[in-house]
């Protein structure tokens, strides 16, 4: 059956076309991807669990394992939820099902989405389809690896500080982190609530827009959501005439950006100008000096509270203890890996009496400055562009022992996350034979602008994004 569909190259839009024309059935499509998973996922470990075809009418989708799926295990990459099966669907999962999408399975993630490589998954890392000795990025490395290797036409990830955009860049996919509040977080295993956003990962910008259209919009179960001010448009234009693009001077001054990444980025800027865009420098000084420290106070603080519910009382792992306290302590010690423990401790400290003002309070004030700084930059430009990741995919184990080096992977994605702004990562070339991602940022609710710009560049670049070794 898999001969019917070339899962490596078929986009979601094309798969929908195949279904509409009756060339394949929904069951055949689902089976084709399960076949591909059977063939390649032994090596890649993109999936933690697959799901049988359940009668859905549409095309398949992969869901990151932080998205609650009724009756289908949801572990957030953690031992503490190893055997947890949700009794309810996350709103985004329900919206996918209502649109006829067929859930292929749950994809790997760093534990509680904390990480940039999937090496923090309690169930072992995923691998990059371009070079299996390298990481796919993280935390959403499972979804990115799956989409890149033809193990799903598209998927949903979650992004707190770069978990959609960075793996998309490292695996050669398009990934959108939407405006905060446009996609429901109901049923998403929480990491840092004021930053977590669900978003699509796909092979093309149009697929990304299509999936965003399905999952976005106000949800009565998430009081931080809003209705989109304008409908999602599928981009068609191949020109960028008059589009004002800003490149933050401070971002480009970062030494951490690899020369090959810088070259690919500069190439795509020139291409943008050829398509009619006006590229200029812009200023985001606070963002790159303080974004990272600010993030590593706010995100762990919220995480320390969000992860308190894993106490062994009602669900998930329970390690026996003589007393209630002993049971809770042992459960959490056995159930959490090093990274969640590290962040729980950081966050608990940042919120403690006597330290709150100096750490959490101060970080919130910096965050307000970041919001203002971005707003000021967007007075002169419509889109801000940077590389998505300072590096291409790095070897497994390279940064696993050095948390700060790992945190630096998100240097370029974090500031706009703190500001609640949408960001799109689009493949813009290669370095050392590995994909490089372009990050495009827009003001709140500027997704349509991002789709238009991303689509035009994607068309002009015309990259072959099937990993060479799989072609």
């Amino acid at each position: 059956m898999s001969a019917l569909v070339d899962t490596l190259r078929t986009t979601a839009e094309e798969a929908l076309g195949l279904l509409e024309r009756g060339d394949v059935s929904a069951a055949e499509l689902h089976a084709a991807y399960l076949d591909a998973i059977g063939e390649r996922d032994g090596e890649l470990h993109a999936y933690l669990r697959t799901a049988d075809y359940d009668g859905a009418s549409g095309i398949p989708i992969a869901l990151k394992d932080v998205i609650s799926t009724k009756g289908l295990g949801t572990t957030a990459g953690s031992k503490i939820l190893e055997h947890y099966v949700p009794v309810f669907d996350a709103t985004v999962a329900a919206r996918c099902r209502e649109s006829g999408l067929s859930v292929l399975g749950k994809t790997n993630t760093d534990e509680f989405a904390m990480g940039s490589s999937t090496e923090n998954s309690a169930f072992g890392p995923s691998r990059n389809p371009w070079d299996p000795s390298r990481v796919p990025g993280g935390s959403g490395g499972g979804t990115a690896s799956a989409v890149s290797a033809g193990l799903a036409p598209w998927g949903l990830g979650s992004d707190t500080g770069g978990s959609i955009k960075q793996p998309s860049a490292l695996c050669g996919n398009v990934g959108l982190r939407p405006t905060y509040g446009t996609v429901s977080r109901y049923g998403i295993v929480a990491f840092a609530s004021s930053l977590d956003q669900v978003g699509p990962v796909a092979k093309t910008v149009r697929d990304t827009a299509l999936l965003y259209r399905i999952v976005s919009g106000r949800d009565p179960s998430d009081s931080t959501t809003v209705e989109l001010p304008e409908a999602v448009e599928l981009p068609t234009a191949d020109r960028l005439d008059g589009l004002r693009v800003g490149v933050p001077r401070q971002a480009m001054a970062l030494e951490a950006i690899e020369p090959g990444v810088r070259a690919a980025f500069e190439h795509v800027l020139r291409l943008a100008e050829e398509l009619g865009a006006r590229v200029s420098e812009c200023e985001l000084p606070i963002s790159y000096d303080y974004g990272m420290p600010c993030y590593y106070l706010i995100a762990p603080a919220e995480a320390s509270s969000n992860l308190a519910r894993y106490d062994g009382v009602r669900y998930g792992l329970r390690s026996e203890g003589e007393t209630y306290r002993a049971m809770v302590e042992r459960t959490r010690d056995d159930g959490f890996g090093d990274e969640p423990k590290r962040r729980i401790m950081l966050g608990t400290y940042a919120l403690s009496a006597g330290y709150y003002d100096a750490y959490y309070g101060q970080a919130q004030r910096v965050r307000t400055l970041l919001v203002r700084e971005h707003a000021a930059a967007f007075e002169d430009v419509e889109v801000i562009a940077t590389p998505t990741s300072p590096t291409v995919a790095f070897p497994i184990g390279d940064k696993a022992a050095d948390p700060l080096a790992m945190y630096a992977c998100d240097l370029l994605t974090i500031p706009s996350c703190l500001a609640g702004l949408p960001g799109l990562s689009v493949p813009c070339g290669f370095s050392e034979g590995l994909p490089v991602g372009l990050q495009l940022l827009a003001p709140q609710f500027g997704e349509n602008t991002l789709f238009r710009a991303g689509h035009a560049l994607e068309q002009a670049l015309d990259l072959d994004l099937v990993p060479e070794r799989l072609r």
């Binding site: 009794v87 977080r185 109901y186 009081s223 931080t224 919220e302 308190a308 519910r309 009496a353």
Partner: protein, 475 residues
């Protein structure tokens, strides 16, 4: 040295909304364990809170009733701690930005009125219910195991915090009566201590009269009636005065009031202070009640007990007014007076007699009650009591009872008085010897002979006249 108690109260009121504070589960008692639960109130991964609109309206309404400023922006925070009855590992509660601040309530006392400041009133969610099984302490530490019923978890609570303005256990009791009546009349809670829908903790310290210092306070918990609260406060005040007078110093501590023995038991001191790591809950947006909402709530306020007490007190006194209003009897009193009854007489009948007869004040026809009150001194006591017991019945009429005027005809009563005195020569002798208290005995005997039909005032005069004591003592 004379000591003065300094008392502040923390009151938790469970709102009687249909559903819980942050989910759509039914709130309220009676269902099987853990049947009124959902992913939100069980703290499942990914579940999110959505505030109950009615609870937000009601806290605004309560704030207005307590004379508070309504915050244009209130924020729900997370109070973080581990306990099995707290499924998320934190309680959602307004913290540094509560919905209501700076109110006051005027409490009528025997010697006038006293203002008690309301520091704040805020919304929060209730914890679940733990049942500790086995062990002797009734606490989780010594229990064999603990069962948790999450039905109560997530029920909306309002916490009201008073300023340390209360100066006696009696004032605390009166304040609470008035507050409770206000809450009940707003229709936002049953506010019943025995059901736990009203819970009160008291912060108590003492200081020398005339001083305005605030000394170390202790907290008293687990008091389940207004009477126990007053007893608990009195016991703690006495204890603290004793400590200071013996040269010691009161240490900050928490006590449980033991109902059976009426004594206080200190809780084991904690080794370190609680650190709840409060921070704004990022899952919720600030509560920003519109002017329209606040005005709508203001318009819905009934005339409040405090205002009615002031009005009733002008005709009676504060004490009687407090009893009538906090007993929910003042409306009947006003209508009965309007129908022509004497204010004090009506107050005595309603507050002292009617209540004891379990008559529903709402079922009483005030015009008929006024006729009864007016005739109270004319008709036999037994007839009056019988009429009063029936006054709440449908289509009650005072007429047949009024017809049974007491026998005040002296010619009819004189022979009976003579017979009673003749039958009790020993008592007559003692009376004449100075034991004037026996007058009541003779009157009682006559009333008994007449089966309560005689007018006691007339009998009284007749007995005195017959015994030769004249009418010089004014009754």
């Amino acid at each position: 040295m004379t000591w003065e108690p300094v008392i502040g109260l923390e009151i938790h009121v469970q709102l009687k909304t249909r559903t819980k504070m942050f989910c759509r589960c039914l709130a309220g008692f009676g269902a099987g364990e853990n049947t009124q639960t959902c992913p939100v109130c069980l703290g499942f991964p990914g579940a999110l809170p959505v505030p109950n609109r009615i609870a937000i309206e009601w806290v605004v309404k309560l704030g207005l009733a307590l004379g508070c400023e309504i915050a244009p922006r209130a924020v729900f925070a997370r109070k973080n701690y581990f306990y099995p009855d707290l499924p998320k590992g934190y309680q959602i509660s307004q913290y540094d930005l509560p919905s209501c601040i700076n109110g006051k309530m005027v409490v009528p006392l025997l010697d006038g009125q006293h203002e008690v400041g309301i520091v704040r009133a805020h919304l929060e969610e209730d914890a679940a219910k733990n049942v500790h099984v086995g062990g002797r302490t009734g606490r989780i530490g010594g229990a064999e195991y603990t069962l948790v019923d999450y039905n109560r978890g997530g029920t909306p609570l309002v916490e009201i915090v008073t300023a340390p303005d209360i100066r006696s256990a009696e004032e605390a009791r009166r304040f609470l009566q008035l507050l409770r009546q206000t809450i009940v009349e707003l229709g936002i809670s049953d506010a019943e201590m025995e059901k736990g829908t009203l819970r009160v903790d008291a912060n108590v310290s003492v200081r020398p009269v005339g001083s305005d210092e605030l000394r170390t306070r202790s907290e008293i918990k687990n008091m389940n009636s207004f009477t126990h609260i007053a007893r608990g406060i009195d016991a703690e005040v006495a204890r603290q005065v004793g400590v200071w007078e013996s040269g010691g110093a009161v240490e900050q501590s928490t006590y449980d009031f033991d109902v059976a023995s009426g004594t206080l038991t200190a809780r084991r001191a904690k080794e370190e202070a609680d650190d709840y790591r409060y921070f704004p809950d990022p899952d919720l947006v600030p509560v920003e009640p519109s002017d329209e909402l606040v005005e709508r709530m203001r318009a819905e306020l009934p005339e409040l007990p405090a205002a009615r007490i002031a009005r009733v007190a002008a005709a009676l006194d504060h004490d009687r007014a407090l009893v009538l209003v906090t007993g929910g009897l003042d409306q009947l009193w006003e209508e009965t007076v309007a129908a022509g009854a004497d204010g004090h007489a009506a107050s005595n009948v309603i507050a002292n007699q009617l209540v004891g007869l379990s008559v529903d004040p709402g079922a009483v026809n005030p015009a008929e009650l006024a006729r009864l009150v007016g005739a109270r001194d004319r008709i036999p006591r037994a007839v009056f009591d019988e009429a009063l017991a029936q006054v709440g019945a449908p289509a009650f009429s005072a007429e047949p009872y009024l017809a049974q005027e007491a026998v005040s005809d002296t010619s009819a009563l004189e022979p009976i008085v003579d017979a009673v005195l003749a039958a009790s020569p020993a008592q007559v002798e003692q009376f004449r010897g100075g034991k004037e208290g026996l007058l009541g005995f003779f009157v009682g005997q006559v009333m008994k002979e007449t089966k309560g039909q005689a007018d006691p005032r007339v009998v009284n005069e007749l007995v005195r006249a017959r015994l030769g004591v004249g009418l010089q003592s004014d009754t």
